[in-house]
């Protein structure tokens, strides 16, 4: 069960900016009440902080891109429609 809590904790770090900032500033305080094993807490205290910040930023950018994905312009839409007509 703890492995699932660990993944949940990671997912929060990747998606919740406030949670991430709190973790980076006060890791022990945040980990104190988390349902994690001692090894998992140690792993999080030793985390690659630069990598964590970059990964969280990259995930955030991906989510934003997905949410604001521009629709194809009319020419591209017509091309895509034509493509479906000829077999795709």
């Amino acid at each position: 069960m703890s492995a699932q809590h660990f993944e949940h904790f990671l997912a929060r770090l990747y998606t919740d900016e406030f949670f991430l900032e709190t973790f980076l500033s006060y890791p022990e305080r945040l980990l104190k009440n988390a349902e994690l094993t001692r090894e998992e807490r140690s792993a999080l205290l030793a985390i690659d902080r630069e990598g964590l910040k970059l990964a969280a930023r990259s995930f955030r950018a991906k989510r934003k891109k997905r949410e604001s994905k521009p629709k194809l312009n009319p020419l591209k839409r017509a091309q895509a429609f034509f493509a479906t007509r000829i077999g795709w």
Binding site: F6, A11, Y14, A43, R63, A80
Partner: protein, 295 residues
């Protein structure tokens, strides 16, 4: 000299569709994003089936999140099963990533902790996937900007464990391998020899760009699919072809900033040339070959 029947193709994207369809003579196969077909009506699914008659099609999923101690999302799995059933395409793949935890959607592919709990969870998820879909996907290694915390296995050992215990095909993304190696100080050419190549079923090629760390101290390579395939990744493909006598399906992935289509076709040709040169080394015995005994 023995010649292997490699197939080199492109990831199918709506923006590339017309160009792909008029250049099928230059492309051996295409890879369609399975998740893009989740809401497809019957006509669109029929169109994929029709295309599959003209050129081999393989399906590629991104959202199952099967490399996790948590069970795969049943709703998502049902959508994958529908696409497989309605297109009639047998060849498909997914990523060794986790994309959600409880109610949180990460929104992209996260490298899971490389440990026993993840492997056990992955194997359970694969059993469920097989029960619902009737087949197992090939599994792709993922790029990461962060060595996943909580890992007890190296990246190579983690992959050896997964593929030995699951029997799945290995879809090796060479840019992901390259990015992880340069970001974490490993030699990609050595790392390649440590991977479970006996399970190799396909290859992905793509590009990325360097981003600065927030401290400004160093840069890391971000796999973004919007840049061309770098020379080092073509060199890895050649090395790979020198290590194995398997016929490979190679897909070049491009998700944006599309160049003129001729540039993508040139990358297809480059990949073919790398495979030919690598295989020549394999058969001439210029490289230590992992599978020579199997021939």
């Amino acid at each position: 000299m023995r010649e292997l029947k490699h197939r080199v193709g492109l990831g199918f994207r709506t923006e590339l569709a017309p160009s792909i369809l008029v250049n099928l003579d230059s492309i051996d196969l295409v890879e369609v994003m399975a998740d893009d077909l989740f809401t497809a009506n019957e006509a669109r699914l029929r169109a994929v089936r029709t295309m599959h008659v003209q050129v081999p099609v393989t399906l590629h999923g991104v959202g199952l999140g099967l490399a996790s101690s948590q069970p795969v999302c049943e709703k998502h799995l049902a959508k994958v099963a529908r696409v497989l059933e309605h297109t009639g395409i047998a060849s498909w793949s997914e990523h060794l990533a986790f994309v959600r935890a409880c109610e949180i959607e990460i929104g992209h592919l996260a490298a899971p902790p490389r440990n026993e709990a993840t492997i056990e969870g992955t194997l359970k998820n694969l059993a469920r996937i097989k029960a619902v879909c009737g087949s197992l996907p090939a599994l792709e290694n993922v790029a990461t900007l962060l060595e996943p915390p909580g890992s007890t296995y190296s990246e190579a050992e983690y992959h050896r464990q997964i593929f030995r215990r699951s029997g799945c095909g290995f879809l090796l993304d060479l840019h992901n391998l390259f990015a992880n190696c340069v970001n974490f100080g490993r030699d990609p050419f050595f790392e390649l020899t440590q991977l479970p190549l006996e399970n190799l079923s396909g290859v992905h090629l793509s590009g990325g760009h360097w981003i600065p760390e927030l401290s400004g101290a160093k840069e890391r390579l971000l796999d973004d699919h919007v840049h061309g395939v770098p020379p080092e990744v073509f060199a890895l493909l050649e090395k790979l072809a020198a290590l194995t006598a398997r016929p490979l399906d190679v897909i070049i992935e491009r998700d944006g900033s599309y160049p003129p289509f001729q540039v993508l076709l040139l990358e297809v040709e480059k990949a073919r040339a790398c495979l030919a040169r690598g295989n020549a080394k394999y058969f001439l015995g210029k490289e230590p070959a992992l599978e020579r005994a199997a021939l």
